[in-house]
C-alpha cells in the first residue's frame, strides 16, 4: 500500500512534466490545428538560451523573463519566415517542415552546446519539500507554475479579445477573416505564445531530467499523449491528461507482472488509444466538426 501511494505521488510528479508540455501542445493546436513535432526541440532550445544566460552570469530573475521573451519572438519569427510562404501547401507538407525544423534545432543545439548533460538550477531550491517527502521542492514548484500557466491560458482564451480571435482564426479562417480578424497574424501570435510556454516548460523540466539536446524527445510524446487524452481544445483537459499519463505509466510499470516494467510506455499508449476509440475528442475536449 505504501508503495502504491508512493508510485501515485511519483507519477503525479512526472505527470507534472508532461502536463507542462501538454499546455504548450494545446496552445499550438489552438493556433494552427496541428501538432508541431519540433515543439520539444524549440522548448529545449529556449532552455539552452536560459542556461547560457545563466552561465554568462546573469541573475535568475532576469534570465527567466528574458528567455521567455526571446522564445516568444523566436516562435513568431519561425512562423513568419518558414510557414508564411507555404500557407497553402497541403497538411503533409507542413508536417514535413516540422520534421525539418526538428532536425535543424536538434543538430544546431548539439553543434553549439554539445550533447553532454548539463544541470540547470531550480528557482525553488534543492532537496525534498520536507524531510521524507517524495516530492522535491522543485517538483512542487513546477506543478504550481503549471497550474498558474493553466489559469492564465484559460483566462486568455475565455476573456480576452485576442484569445477569442485566435480561436476563431484557427477554427474557421474564412469566416474569421470576414469579421476582420487578421488570421495570419493570429497564427504567428499563436506560435509565439506556444514557444513562450514551451520555454517555461523547458526551464521547469530541465532541473529534473538534465539539459541536453535530446531532452524533450520522449517528453514531447508524453505531452502529446496527455494533451490528446485530455482533449486538444481544453487546457485543463491537457493538464489532467498529463497527470493521468504519468500515474498510469507508473502503476503499469510497477504492478503489471512480467511485462509491466518493460512495456510501461506501450501500455500507457495503448490505454490512451482505447480511451480515444471510445471518446475520440478526448476527456474534456469538444468535438471539432470537420468540413466535408
Amino acid at each position: 500500500m505504501d508503495l502504491f501511494l508512493q508510485q501515485i505521488v511519483s507519477g503525479f510528479a512526472t505527470g507534472g512534466i508532461y502536463a507542462c508540455m501538454a499546455l504548450s501542445v494545446v496552445m499550438i493546436y489552438q493556433a494552427i490545428h496541428h501538432l508541431n513535432f519540433a515543439q520539444g526541440e524549440m522548448a529545449t532550445f529556449s532552455t539552452f538560451i536560459a542556461w547560457q544566460l545563466l552561465a554568462w552570469g546573469l541573475p535568475y530573475f532576469a534570465v527567466i523573463p528574458l528567455a521567455i521573451g526571446l522564445s516568444f519572438i523566436g516562435g513568431f519569427i519561425v512562423e513568419r519566415v518558414v510557414f508564411k510562404p507555404i500557407e497553402n501547401a497541403p497538411v503533409l507538407s507542413h508536417i514535413v517542415i516540422f520534421i525539418a525544423l526538428f532536425a535543424i534545432f536538434n543538430s544546431a543545439m548539439g553543434f553549439i552546446w554539445d550533447f553532454s548533460i548539463k544541470p540547470v538550477p531550480s528557482a525553488f531550491g534543492e532537496g525534498p519539500l520536507y524531510e521524507g517527502s517524495l516530492l522535491s521542492k522543485h517538483q512542487t514548484g513546477m506543478i504550481s507554475v503549471t497550474m498558474f500557466v493553466l489559469v492564465l491560458l484559460w483566462a486568455f482564451f475565455r476573456f480576452t479579445r485576442v484569445g477569442l480571435a485566435m480561436r476563431a482564426a484557427a477554427a474557421n479562417p474564412q469566416s474569421a477573416r470576414l469579421v476582420g480578424i487578421r488570421v495570419s497574424f493570429m497564427t504567428a501570435l499563436g506560435w509565439g505564445m506556444a514557444s513562450a510556454i514551451g520555454a517555461v516548460a523547458g526551464i521547469l523540466i530541465a532541473p529534473v531530467v538534465f539539459l541536453e539536446p535530446n531532452m524533450m524527445l520522449s517528453i514531447l510524446l508524453y505531452g502529446f499523449a496527455g494533451a490528446v487524452l485530455g482533449g486538444l481544445t481544453s487546457p485543463l483537459g491537457a493538464v489532467i491528461g498529463g497527470f493521468i499519463v504519468g500515474i498510469v505509466e507508473n502503476l503499469a510499470g510497477t504492478y503489471i507482472p512480467v511485462v509491466g516494467g518493460e512495456l510501461k510506455l506501450p501500455i500507457a499508449l495503448f490505454l490512451i488509444v482505447v480511451v480515444l476509440v471510445v471518446k475520440p475528442e478526448g476527456l474534456l475536449g469538444r468535438r471539432v466538426v470537420q468540413r466535408v
Partner: protein
C-alpha cells in the same frame, strides 16, 4: 458505383494505344535499373537496393495516405514485422528466403487490417497519434524478454548466419549483392504493377472516393469501414514485404533498426515523392537514401541542420512533392502545345 468513377481521376478512361510515352519511360527506367549493377561498385549496388526497398515501403504508405487519405506515422512498425518474419523464418526454421516474402506480406496484411479496425474511429491528429504510438511501441515489443528465444531480444537476429549471403538460385553466375539487388528490383516491379492495378480497380476507386468525400461515398453505397481497413491491410502488406527484403539485404535485424525515426523517414519520402503519385516513391526513396549522406559531406556536426534545410527547400520548390511538380510541368507543356 458508376458515378464514383469520376473521382478516379482518369484512371479508367478510354482505351489507350499500346505504346504510350509513359510506357516508354517505364521501359527505359527498367532497363537502366537492370543494367545498373553491372556498371557500378558493390557499395553503390547496396545503396540502390536500399533505395528500392524504401520505394516499396513508400508505395505501401502511399496506398494508405495518398489513395485512401488516412495518416500514418507508424509504418516503421509494419516494416519491422516483415523484417522479423523473414529473419525468424530463415534463421530458426530454415525456410528459403524467397518463400518468406509472401508470408511476411500476409502477416503484415492481417496485422494492418486488425490495426485498421480501431483506427476507424480515429482520424486526423488522433490517428496520427495512434500510429505514432505503434511505432514507438514496436521496438519495445521486439525486445520483450518473454519472446527473446524468437527475436533474439536486444541482440537481434543475424540472417544467413551459416552462409553469410543469400543463395543465388539456378546457379546463376552473379555476385550475391547483385542478385539481392535484382531480386529486390523484380519484387518491386511486381508490387508496383500490383499497386497500379489496385488503384485502377473498383477497390482503388472506392478508396479514393472515401478520401475525397466520405459522406458522398457512403451515400453511394461504399462500405467505408471495409475499404478503410482494407487500405490499412494492403498498405501494411507492401511495407511489410519491404521490411522482409531489408532483412535479406542488411542480413541483420534488431530493435534499434526500427525506431520511430524509420516511420518519419518513410513519411518524408512519401511527401517528397508526391502524395498520391505512385512512381514518386522512387524519387522520395532517393531523397531519403542520398540526401543524408550528402548533408554529412557538407558538415558533419550540422548534418541534421543541412538535411532539414534541404527538406524545407524541397517543400518550397515543390509543395506537392515531385508528383505535384511533374503534374504542373506536364500541364504547362500541354497548355503550350494546346496554345499553338
Amino acid at each position: 458505383m458508376a458515378t464514383s468513377e469520376t473521382y478516379a481521376a482518369g484512371a479508367a478512361s478510354a482505351p489507350k494505344p499500346f505504346i504510350t510515352a509513359e510506357r516508354v519511360v517505364y521501359l527505359l527506367l527498367f532497363i537502366g535499373l537492370v543494367a545498373l549493377p553491372f556498371f557500378s561498385k558493390g557499395f553503390f549496388v547496396f545503396q540502390m537496393t536500399k533505395l528500392l526497398i524504401y520505394a516499396i515501403a513508400i508505395i505501401g504508405l502511399n496506398l494508405l495516405t495518398g489513395i485512401n487519405g488516412q495518416f500514418s506515422l507508424g509504418h516503421g512498425a509494419f516494416y519491422a514485422v516483415g523484417a522479423y518474419t523473414t529473419a525468424i523464418m530463415v534463421e530458426m526454421m530454415g525456410v528459403n528466403y524467397m518463400l518468406t516474402l509472401p508470408v511476411a506480406g500476409l502477416i503484415c496484411f492481417v496485422f494492418g487490417f486488425l490495426f485498421g479496425l480501431p483506427a476507424l474511429r480515429l482520424d486526423g491528429i488522433y490517428l496520427a497519434l495512434a500510429t505514432f504510438a505503434l511505432a514507438i511501441a514496436m521496438p519495445q515489443f521486439l525486445k520483450l524478454s518473454t519472446i527473446e528465444h524468437l527475436t533474439g531480444g536486444v541482440q537481434g537476429v543475424i540472417v544467413f548466419s551459416e552462409t553469410f549471403d543469400p543463395e543465388v538460385p539456378f546457379g546463376l553466375p552473379l555476385d550475391p549483392g547483385v542478385w539481392t539487388y535484382l531480386f529486390t528490383l523484380f519484387v518491386g516491379v511486381f508490387l508496383f504493377w500490383l499497386a497500379r492495378n489496385i488503384v485502377a480497380s473498383r477497390t482503388g476507386r472506392a478508396m479514393m472516393a472515401i478520401r475525397d468525400n466520405p459522406i458522398a461515398a457512403r451515400s453511394m453505397g461504399v462500405n467505408i469501414a471495409l475499404y478503410k481497413t482494407l487500405a490499412f491491410g494492403l498498405s501494411a502488406l507492401f511495407t511489410g514485404v519491404a521490411g522482409a527484403l531489408s532483412a535479406i539485404a542488411v542480413k541483420f535485424v534488431a530493435p534499434d533498426s526500427f525506431t520511430f525515426a524509420l516511420s518519419i523517414v518513410l513519411l518524408v519520402g512519401l511527401v517528397v515523392g508526391g502524395v498520391g503519385w505512385l512512381p514518386g516513391a522512387l524519387i522520395g526513396a532517393a531523397f531519403i537514401v542520398f540526401v543524408p549522406n550528402f548533408a554529412e559531406e557538407i558538415s558533419k556536426g550540422l548534418s541534421g541542420a543541412v538535411f532539414g534545410f534541404f527538406l524545407i527547400l524541397v517543400i518550397y520548390l515543390a509543395p506537392q512533392g515531385a508528383g505535384g511538380l511533374l503534374r504542373a510541368g506536364v500541364g504547362r507543356v500541354k497548355r503550350l502545345l494546346g496554345g499553338r
